[in-house]
């Protein structure tokens, strides 16, 4: 019984929604609405699952005076202060987020927003340094990734095109140099001509490419976003959607039951 009833509940609720999609009339349409309404109420309670173990964990650290007890105390204290402050203002104004409440004006605007926003702004530094260290043109696919990222980054800001001439010139010269050396090192004459020819083509095309990118960067960015990027994203997301359908079906049919653990 410990397993059968939950499995039946899952099956009935999931299956009903699928039926209601195809037969939106009575009784399925109404039932769907009713189930959704219950879900809205019950889903709220999943928000607080896990809070108990968080608090218990930190309470344990404080009681045993383990290292970090001071920080755990700060956590529990901030939990209590926030809760009391919010409930107090909620009772006073009907909702703690009333424009006149001090909970909204001080706690939320200054304390909470500052903490959250700054926490995530740290990512700016990490991603910059990650881009510097990870974006190496090791393979042709890695190069495509790098070039697309650079063009989107520069195309997305007003004066990004200013970086185009030096960056593209250095990259082009480096590429030409690379092929020139490859040609030098190879013993085969035909391959040597191919390598040197490539180097020459790069050198010849360098100026027009710079010109083109310099004047059309936003359009190039839009093209990347709207054509190759969009096509691939669509493929990826269709794949993801199919995967979601498969997993959902497994859950409804009771094949996937890890959530019962």
């Amino acid at each position: 019984m410990k397993k059968e009833i939950p499995l039946a509940i899952t099956f009935i609720s999931g299956f009903l929604l699928i039926v209601a999609l195809f037969v939106p009339h009575r009784p399925f349409g109404d039932l769907e609405q009713r189930f959704n309404d219950w879900y809205i109420i019950v889903a709220g309670f999943t928000l607080i699952l896990g809070v108990d173990s968080l608090l218990a964990h930190h309470w344990k650290i404080i009681r045993r005076r383990q290292p970090g007890a001071f920080h755990s105390m700060a956590l529990i204290l901030s939990f209590i202060v926030t809760l009391v402050w919010g409930v107090w203002d909620g009772l006073k104004f009907g909702n703690p987020f009333d424009p006149a409440s001090t909970f909204l004006r001080y706690f939320y605007t200054y304390v909470f927003v500052s903490l959250q926003a700054t926490m995530f702004s740290l990512l700016a530094f990490f991603i910059a340094s990650a881009a510097y260290r990870a974006f190496r043109a090791r393979t042709s696919t890695a190069t495509l990734l790098l070039v697309a990222a650079a063009l989107v980054m520069l195309g997305n800001v007003p004066k990004g095109y200013l970086a185009i001439p030096p960056v593209v010139a250095i990259t082009g010269l480096l590429l030409a140099f690379h092929f020139f050396r490859e040609g030098q090192e190879t013993a085969e004459t035909t391959m040597r001509i191919v390598y040197w020819g490539t180097a020459l083509v790069i050198l010849v095309l360098l100026y027009p490419v710079i010109q083109f990118l310099y004047h059309n960067l936003p359009a190039v960015k839009d093209w990347i976003m709207n054509v190759p990027h969009l096509g691939a994203k669509r493929g990826i997301l269709i794949g993801v959607a199919l995967g979601a359908v498969a997993i959902s079906l497994r859950i409804i049919l009771g094949i996937e039951r890890t959530y019962l653990r």
Binding site: K2, L17, G44, A74, S114
Partner: protein, 210 residues
């Protein structure tokens, strides 16, 4: 600006700097701010649960509804109560009933949304004419179709990527890389924006330098 605003601007600035100090290395100031964040966020969920769920949907509804509509509220209230039993180890297994309900609903909604809202319209939109009478347009449409199809081929693992299939998968990975590159470039942009926002707070709202 009142005295309280000033005080809280300084508190906000202090917390901001405490978190930024992590860039140097992990330290007690950062840890302190981090713990305050986690603690207050946890309390925040409780406040939300009460004021945007339990109070309006159960209590207010119980008061304003009559007859059947009132008493049917017992069902979701009971399920919610079961959910809370998770906190009591002896009867925690009963919370599975409520969890089973949310999981089943989630799965049902997931299937209908993915099929009706993504797969069907996107496949439809992906079926583009390969020749529109215009070179530029046609070329774009061809790239769109080819990139979608080859990307799907790349993620098709039921058959080994050899021969023709292997070639298509290789083309697919090229497009996937362009897509990831574009996404990554865009993500960098987002993160930088967040930093600019915080710096603006420090220099403008706090120090009044800019």
């Amino acid at each position: 600006m009142s005295g309280m605003d000033l005080l809280f601007t300084w508190i906000a600035a202090g917390l901001t700097l405490a978190i930024f100090s992590f860039l140097y290395r992990d330290n007690p100031f950062y840890k302190f701010a981090e713990h305050i964040y986690v603690g207050s966020a946890a309390a925040y969920w409780f406040i939300y649960l009460w004021f945007f769920d339990v109070k309006p949907k159960l209590i207010d509804a119980w008061i304003s509804n009559t007859g059947f509509e009132r008493y049917i509220l017992i069902v979701p209230a009971f399920l919610s109560f079961l959910m809370l039993l998770r906190f009591i180890p002896k009867v925690a297994w009963l919370s599975r009933w409520a969890i089973a309900f949310t999981v089943g609903m989630g799965a049902g909604l997931g299937i209908t949304g993915a099929i009706q809202g993504y797969i069907v319209p996107q496949v439809k939109a992906g079926m583009l004419p390969l020749w529109t009478g215009q070179w530029g347009n046609s070329l774009n449409y061809i790239i769109l179709v080819v990139s979608t199809v080859t990307t799907l081929v790349y993620f098709f693992f039921s058959k080994e990527h050899k021969g023709g299939l292997g070639f298509l998968a290789k083309v697919g990975i090229m497009f996937i890389m362009i897509a990831f590159g574009a996404s990554f470039g865009s993500t960098i942009m987002a993160r930088i924006s967040l930093l600019i926002g915080r710096l603006y707070f420090l220099f403008h709202d706090w120090l009044h330098l800019v």
